[in-house]
Amino acid sequence: MAEFRMPSLGADMEAGTLVEWLVKPGAKVKRGDIVAVVETQKGAIEIETFETGEVEKLLVDLDTKVPVGTPLALIRTEAEGKPAAVPAPEKPSPPAAPAVTAAEPAPPTVPVPPAAAVPPPPAPARPMAAPVAEGRVLASPAARRLAGERGLDLSTVAGTGPAGAITYADVERGLAEAEPAVPAAPVAPPEPSEKPPPEKKRVPTLNLEAMRVAIAAAMARSKREIPHYYLEHQVDVTACERWLSETNASRPPDSRLLMGALAIKAVALAARRFPAFNGFYRDNKFEPAPAVHVGVAIAIRGGGLAAPALHDADKMPLDELMSRMRDLIQRTRAGRIRGSEMADPTITVSSLGERGVEVLYGIIYPPQVAIVGMGKAVVRPWVVDGAIGPRSVVTLTLSADHRVSDGHAGALFLAEIGKLLQEPDKL
């Protein structure tokens, strides 16, 4: 039986509120299906399942706020077939990951005692299925239930059970320690009196105030923890502009390309070649990412910002990248982001577009290790083949994590992006 859990949708997320079930018990689901909608500080996020099978049971009621990692539903996977008559006895080694990864608690939270780093079990029962499962902490069901009821993040508890698993007693101790340390616990128990009727249809909305709080938490953490270094590079993008206007001239508006798509593709290709800028810094070490999922910084009307992932941006042809980017921006602005898009970016691109100013110095979104900024294009006198002429010039910047890379590598990475933009037809 697979557990469908409250995913971690970013380093700053501690809990989410289940606001909509899109499946019922008995429904067939397959990997990638959207099964629930969760309200977070970043707005309503659509959550996909990473399992294929049948929904056995929904474990969490609507409008209940639960910590990251809490099982929301049970999914009987195809391999398991029919349900067992008796619930399985408490197993010491469920499919588990090293603790405190995706569900890494953001500050302000309970200090994590060193012992909380639960060692991985000797042999996971089956391969890790999903990023969602990365937040899994070894714990007994009773411990998990108690922690869920009391809103305690299991990743903050030191386990004393088999293989470091968290027991009921560990949670009790954790609760006792946590009580004074969490003045305004963001994780509230369900409040039955305020429950709206379950039939209520959710209207996607963006809570800009909550989004501001989330941005503040992530950026404060970034500035506190990440030793940034900054590089900038002026790039002649005349070739890109010419190529775009030639390409778009014969296309209807639906299939026209924007400069932003070229920039994302160039960054994605460069990131594949320079892995030190693509991945996560967690648990005091850098984990290069095997795929390139570019976070696209998207401004929200009224003052908000989100940077959801464009998955596998390095592998997509430009046309597909453009239509996926268009869809991503539209959904983000309408408050319909998917969970994997929030959690997966391995590097971020922030582009000011046609208006505004020439240079943007980005702040890295933890646990990522780099952000590429792109100012607006301006026409400047430029020397090409020994003659001065007007050229369209964009200032690219790189903010990168000095714990992972140095300016020398950063310069090569940024220069590579500039080179790639000289041959837009090859992107």
Partner: protein
């Protein structure tokens, strides 16, 4: 389709992108990108919506003619007539 209908189409499509803006308070000569705070993706979506709604082809080269309310309505009216003739 009259000038009034074209104006209505332009205003409705802009309102879809910038719902909080009162277009009656926007100068007909103001740059929409500034007045409505719309970026290149918003503008492309606007052009796409107008293209589908009015069936008028708007090449990228003509974008600068559509960046004000007055310009957009004038351009679309002229091209609507040209398409009919």
């Amino acid at each position: 389709m009259s000038d009034v209908d074209i104006r209505k189409a332009v205003e409705e499509e802009l309102n879809n992108i910038a719902p909080e803006i009162d277009l009656t308070a926007v100068s007909p000569k103001a740059d929409l990108r500034e007045a409505l705070d719309i970026d290149s993706m918003d503008f492309l979506n606007f052009i796409t919506a107008i293209h589908h709604r009015l069936g008028i082809d708007i090449p990228e080269l003509d974008y600068p003619k559509l960046v004000t309310l007055e310009g957009a309505v004038g351009y679309l009216t002229a091209h609507r007539k040209a398409a009919k003739d």
